[in-house]
Amino acid sequence: MSDAAVLAHADDSHGSAEAHVEHATATGIDTKKLVMWLFLASDCMFFGTLISTHLVYRKVYPYGSNEKGVIDIIKTFDIQLTSFSTFILLMSSFLMALAVSAMHKGQIKSFRRACIGVMIFGLIFLTGQVYEFTHFFDGHAVYTFSVRTAAGESISSTYEGPADQTRAKADLARRLFRDHPDWLAVPTTANAADKALAPAAQLARHPDWIVPAMKQVKVEKPSLSMQNSVFGSTFFLMTGTHGCHVAIGVLWLASMYLYSFTGRMQKNMHGAAIDIEICGLYWHFVDIVWIVIFTAVYLVEYIPGYNPVQ
């Protein structure tokens, strides 16, 4: 213990100064912090490969797919929402810096307030991402159907919603059934189990029994999925991995927040401050990765000439 340095830190919640022993390291850097920076350097390379893959395929496939019209990137993106998410994540980084600063000053209550703020901002970011992914996946369509019903009548109807013809057909079937329940025609070839169902259940399982044929006229914005395009594959993989990092960060912060109530932090304020600082490093790293993704993936799409569909 001869090479140990003794540091004293005040504890605001108890008003007393507690001494503890900190081991000196050969580098002069706390080992936990050093390992965290090494991890971040490796994570840098991890995200580097994901972003590189996206950019390379973006360059190789100018339409984001091997044929034109499968996806429409500009119409799919919602730059206002993404900008808001970016702002939220930057502000969460600011709060995280305040949380770390509060811990270094030994102010646990301030730390808790900032920590709650970071978690809320992180959850807002994740909510935005889930909303974004759902809408990207669904796409958007305005279908004008020319329908010949099972009762033999021809009608025309417009449906606006997710770019999913099956869903649109089911929705139209429900509307028709609500107005004309007698139009539901159970085929003679239907099996006994289906025939025994209530009409509404029959319709849910077989929209064809009221809408046997329809014609799709217009799709405003095609859906974006991992299966339908190269752009979708690389985009969802990269932003999804980032989202997982954010979720892990929120869980980590939640655990630190709860830990602050156990009283163990107060016994070793310096050690606790280092732990929070490491958590903060991770959170800031998630933020800087998003800074790169926001520019390299979202904003560049709006530059004239980058996207040939634009």
């Binding site: 580097g48 800087i288 000439g305 980058y306």
Partner: protein, 134 residues
């Protein structure tokens, strides 16, 4: 914080953290403004090369501001900067190398459904490669 040879007194520590607190507030405002600039600039009628350069510059500035101040790299030991920059250089190097190595001509024409597609060099190509991809 990490150097144990000269531990700071409580008063020095508080003074140091208070100074950082103001730096963090200024930086948060600065980052907000820069993000706003990024969003506005893409809708302005500037040449693509100017837009690319602006976006990359602003992004790099934001990136380094966060790692230097929010991540305390400017206050910490230089070894940490070396460690992180090593990872960063490898990641950026991989990105630049792949973007230069891969071209549309590497794609099997058999899988391209739109044979009449004329590939224009993107502004990124012009900046990074200095040649036009056909």
């Amino acid at each position: 914080m990490s150097a144990t040879a000269h531990p700071l007194s409580q008063a020095e520590l508080l003074d140091q953290e208070n100074k950082r607190y103001h730096a963090f507030i200024n930086l948060a405002l600065f980052l907000s403004v820069f993000t706003g600039v990024e969003i506005v600039v893409i809708f302005l009628p500037f040449p693509p090369a100017v837009l690319f350069t602006t976006l990359i510059t602003v992004s790099v500035i934001k990136f380094f501001c966060v790692i230097l101040w929010f991540m305390h790299l400017i206050y910490d030991a230089p070894l940490l900067i070396i460690l992180f920059v090593a990872g960063l250089v490898l990641a950026a190097g991989t990105m630049v190398a792949l973007l230069n190595l891969m071209a549309r001509s590497d794609v099997d024409p058999g899988i391209l459904h739109d044979s009449s597609l004329v590939i224009r060099a993107t502004p990124a190509d012009q900046i990074m490669n200095g040649f036009t991809v056909v």
